[in-house]
């Protein structure tokens, strides 16, 4: 018996979970799926039984509770293996299950053979290395690297069993209580179409007011250089560069940024770069498509004023 934790989003199983089902089927039969919250149709994916855990405390993600339910189900079915997708959630739940049951966990696998001992191939190093490993364990705990295996369909008849799990207070110690969007008006640096960044030339933490104003008008994310985070003017999450975020906006407006290699490594994905800098000789001029030479404290507010006038 194989148990698979199936994650869902907007009433459908997530792709990584379906990929996991594909791999799990080749490992052993029958496949039992665990769904948390609501039932979804898994009959196209070779699932013999869908176990649907329903409990009022499960409206938000609680990794220990999920691990407890998964563990109890595996015990009840005497499962030889437990699978989950190698997503943030999947890996977290399985890590907690591994710790609870004192069993080894093989994370981010892309191939598993049901030999004795189980041999498996794992993705390491952000996908640049493949590791061949053997897993010695009475019950195999395995997560499957997302998007490494194509989803294959296997229509069967699926039995649905709803149940209410028993949860202790301890299982609910860790759970999501609130979702908060990232700072910067909710526009993430990595996805923003426009990024307005400030460097040492901005001069101070307060100096970022004009950068934020321009970004607000353009619907842009605010970024900064390493010098700015070193000086403590902005959090590291705002840093664009080699050791910060790598961005790829349509236009990158770099204000008072000299363009050190470490910074340019983070914005080389930008389609166009507009540099605003007092120093016409700054290295950023070599990479910039457009440049305004002058004091950003005059130029940036002038651009903002012009945008307001146009609207």
């Amino acid at each position: 018996v194989v148990v698979v934790l199936v994650e869902q989003s907007e009433g459908k199983a997530t792709d990584p979970s379906l990929q996991t089902l594909t791999l799990a089927r080749s490992f052993g039969q029958p496949v039992n799926a665990l769904l948390i919250g609501s039932d979804i149709d898994l009959s196209q994916h070779g699932v013999a039984v869908s176990h649907v855990a329903q409990h009022e405390a499960l409206s938000s993600f609680a990794p220990d509770a999920w691990a407890a339910i998964l563990g109890h189900l595996a015990d009840r079915l005497d499962a030889s293996a437990v699978f989950a997708a190698g997503t943030e959630r999947g890996n977290e739940v399985m890590a907690r299950l591994a710790a609870r049951s004192e069993l080894p966990l093989a994370a981010n696998c892309i191939a598993v053979s049901p030999d004795q001992p189980v041999t498996l191939t794992r993705l390491r190093w952000g996908g640049s290395l493949l590791e061949e490993a053997r897993l010695h364990s009475s019950r195999r705990l395995i997560t499957v690297a997302p998007h490494a295996i194509p989803i294959e369909l296997a229509p069967v008849e699926t039995k649905v069993e709803k149940f209410t799990p028993e949860l202790s207070d301890k299982d609910l110690l860790v759970r999501v209580t609130e979702h908060v969007g990232a700072s910067g008006g909710g526009i993430s640096l990595t996805e923003a179409k426009v990024v307005v960044s400030g460097g040492r030339g901005v001069g101070s933490k307060e100096g970022f007011a004009i950068i934020e104003e321009l970004a607000g008008l353009l619907g842009a994310a605010v970024g900064c250089s390493r010098a700015v985070t070193s000086a403590g003017w902005r959090p590291h999450t705002d840093q664009v560069g080699q050791t910060g975020t790598k961005i790829a906006p349509d236009i990158y407006i770099a204000c008072g940024i000299s363009g050190a290699t470490q910074h340019m490594a983070g914005c080389k994905g930008a389609k166009k770069i507009l540099a605003i800098n007092a120093d016409g000789e700054a290295p950023i001029m070599l990479s910039a498509d457009y440049a305004v030479i002058g004091d950003l404290k005059e130029i940036v507010p002038a651009i903002s004023a012009e945008i307001r006038k146009q609207r």
């Binding site: 290395l129 010098a227 070193s230 050791t243 363009g259 490594a265």
Partner: protein, 674 residues
């Protein structure tokens, strides 16, 4: 001769011998548990190190007062060693002594003088510890040190008391006039008590020494046995070289590949001896740029934490192995050492340079990193793009290989094509000078100077790759070895013999580490090569009047002994001013050990500390000879606002050559010959 005394001494010797042997044997087994590492080559070099570092006390004497203090005690005990036997004979039979030596006047004089020196050393040590209280002792076992000093003082005092009473009773086999201190003390002794004192002193002397012997292997003072061993097995050549991991070797099982250090069971025997040798003197802590700027790492506390693990977990590993079982020791990180400690290190080697007992801290750090990176995939997230780009794009910034020659546009530099005749000099540019705006000036100036001097040189252009240094110092040995093999292939097929590079990190990797992968070349730093050109009269600089202070790069000065030549260039370009920390005892810019690719979120910025030191010399120019130092210190100047210009030595030299040309043009009007 008294039979009771003989029996008592025999009993004392047996008891202390057994107690000592039990502990010593356990320590020996812990050392033998270590993984293999090749440290039996270059015996002449090892003997030399032993003479210089142990007998000559060279590392200790780097700091004068504590150095002399220790040298007095060390040399004193070397001289006093035979007196242990003499005292044991004297304890059994007051009328007997060691044949020959015990009757020598000159030896009695030496004993007198050196015993006094030891006493002076102990008093100095107490004064340092109690009055001066230097910061290097923070975290050391201070009570233990006091006890050891007290024991040494007691050994010397009982020796003097014995000798004085011997002289007073006429039991001395040596002429009393040869032992002035003891003779002086003898005069002060009260007659009635002297025979009792003579017996008490010699027995106290012998028993304290035996107690000391038993206590030593349980204490940090174990170094008096192990320091000499550890120094002997230290690295003698190529200090900047890291031990390569053997990923594949004939006859080696896959399980035997050692991915750095996860637990005490993974340490090499040399690393185990390292931990046992530490005396907690804190000289490493004193010079560590990470510790000095308020970061989590102290090299001393690192070694002490490892020793605690060896002592607590090692015996469990051994006893499990005795029963044919395996004991899984807990991982060193984060149980004994936090992740922060491992990542704070700049691998500058200041600690290794300072350590009087030959501890090689960098090897420990790198092995911990290797395990974290290659096994646990756990490292500062901001360094991941560097590792990925070095692996995929062959440079840390993910720039196109085709852009490697952009810095040389318009300079007429030859790009060596496959199959072409090799040039006299291959100019290994390195990634930073090829791609970084601020670092490239050094490459441009060097190329211009070589052209001026008529040097036949070429660059590899797009066929050059990152040497792998930052990946290796991060602990990513896979990526390093792949790049090393690729570069060695390119270099060997091009038939290159002599390489010039502006980057000390490239220099270190090419010259010290590539031989492990079949690449053997003569690699010289551009400062060395340019100094050579000046000496040969092939370039002619005129020094300016600017005050220049030169910042030694760790990988140049400390790891590769290049100290004199950069200073020749400074003198050729301007007026040299030295910083307090220079040469072998330089202070890092903060970029080494792949720190260039990590955020410095703990403590104060190292680069700012260094530029303030440079500015305090009053120099206008901060000369550098490393692309990473260039970037770090230039950042430091901008951040602190100190008035300094950061310039590579090649550029300063290039300016000096132009100055000479301008002078020549003025003094020798155009058209005239002489």
């Amino acid at each position: 001769m008294s039979p009771i005394s003989a029996v008592a001494l025999a009993a004392a010797l047996i008891v202390s011998g057994v107690l000592f042997e039990r502990r010593a044997f356990q320590l020996y087994r812990l050392i033998r548990m270590g993984k293999p590492v090749a440290r039996f080559d270059d015996v002449p070099g090892r003997v030399r190190a032993e003479m210089v570092v142990v007998v000559g006390q060279s590392k200790l004497l780097q700091v004068l007062v504590p150095g002399l203090m220790h040298a007095a005690i060390f040399w004193g005990f070397m001289v006093l060693l035979p007196t242990i036997v003499i005292a044991m004979i004297g304890a059994v039979d007051p009328h007997a002594t060691l044949p020959w030596l015990g009757a020598q006047g000159w030896y009695a004089l030496m004993v007198d003088v050196f015993a006094l020196l030891v006493l002076a050393g102990v008093i100095t040590a107490f004064a340092i510890r109690k009055l001066q209280r230097p910061g290097r002792f923070v975290g050391s076992h201070l009570g233990e040190a006091d006890l050891i000093l007290a024991l040494i003082a007691a050994i010397i005092c009982t020796l003097f008391a014995w000798h004085a009473s011997q002289i007073a009773l006429g039991l001395n086999d040596y002429p009393a006039s040869w032992a002035p201190v003891s003779a002086l003390l003898a005069g002060a002794l009260h007659q009635s008590w002297t025979p009792v004192l003579e017996r008490a002193a010699v027995w106290a002397h012998v028993l304290i020494i035996l107690a000391f012997l038993v206590y030593l292997p349980y204490s940090k003072h174990l170094h008096i046995f192990l320091a000499a061993v550890n120094v002997f097995f230290g690295r003698t050549r190529a200090r900047g070289r890291l031990e390569p991991i053997q990923f594949e070797k004939e006859g080696m099982a896959e399980e035997d590949v050692r991915f750095g250090t996860a637990t005490v069971a993974d340490m090499t025997w040399k690393q185990t001896v390292d931990t046992m040798s530490c005396t907690e003197c804190g000289r490493c802590q004193d010079v560590c740029p990470a510790y000095g700027t308020g970061k989590a790492l102290s090299p001393k506390l690192l070694i002490m934490a490892l020793r605690d693990q060896v002592m607590s977990e090692g015996p469990k590993v051994l006893s499990a192995a005795d029963k044919g079982a395996t004991y899984h020791a807990p991982p060193l990180v984060p149980n004994a050492i936090t992740d922060d400690i491992v990542w704070d290190c700049v691998t500058c080697g200041a600690c290794v340079q300072e350590c009087p007992v030959g501890i090689e801290h960098i090897d420990h750090i790198i092995d911990l990193r290797r395990n974290l990176v290659m096994v646990e995939s756990r490292f500062p997230a901001e360094a991941a793009p560097m590792l990925r780009d070095v692996d995929r794009a062959s440079n840390p910034w993910g720039k196109p290989q085709a852009d490697r020659t952009r810095w040389a546009e318009g300079l007429g530099v030859r790009v060596l094509q496959p199959g072409e005749q090799p040039p006299d000099i291959l100019f290994w540019v390195g990634c930073a000078p090829a791609y970084d705006e601020r670092a490239r000036q050094a490459a441009i100036s060097t190329a211009k100077l070589m052209k001026d001097a008529g040097v036949d040189f070429a660059i590899l252009g797009p066929r050059e790759s990152c040497t792998g240094d930052p990946a290796r110092r991060m602990g990513d040995e896979y990526t390093f070895q792949r790049l090393a093999k690729q570069n060695v292939g390119t270099l060997n097929s091009s038939g290159v013999k002599r390489i010039v590079t502006t980057c000390p990190h490239c220099l270190n990797t090419l010259s010290n580490e590539y031989p492990d992968f079949g690449g053997r070349y003569e690699v010289v730093h551009h400062t060395v090569f340019l100094a050579e050109l000046i000496r040969e009269g092939r370039i002619d600089p005129l020094p300016g009047d600017r005050a220049i202070t030169y910042h030694d790069s760790c990988y140049l000065a400390r790891h590769n002994d290049v100290i004199a030549e950069p200073r020749e260039l400074v003198a050729a370009a301007g007026r040299p001013v030295e910083m307090p920390r220079s040469g072998k005892r330089t202070f890092c810019c903060g970029a080494g050990g792949a720190r260039m690719w990590m955020e410095e979120s703990r403590g104060r910025p190292i680069n700012q500390e260094r530029v303030r030191e440079a500015a305090a010399t009053g120099a206008q120019t901060l000369a550098v000879a490393c692309p990473f130092c260039t970037v770090m210190l230039d950042d430091g100047v901008r951040e602190t606002g100190v008035k300094l210009q950061v310039v590579d030595l090649a550029t300063l030299l290039s300016e000096a050559v132009e100055r000479q040309k301008a002078w020549d043009a003025r003094t020798k009007p155009a058209g005239s010959n002489q």
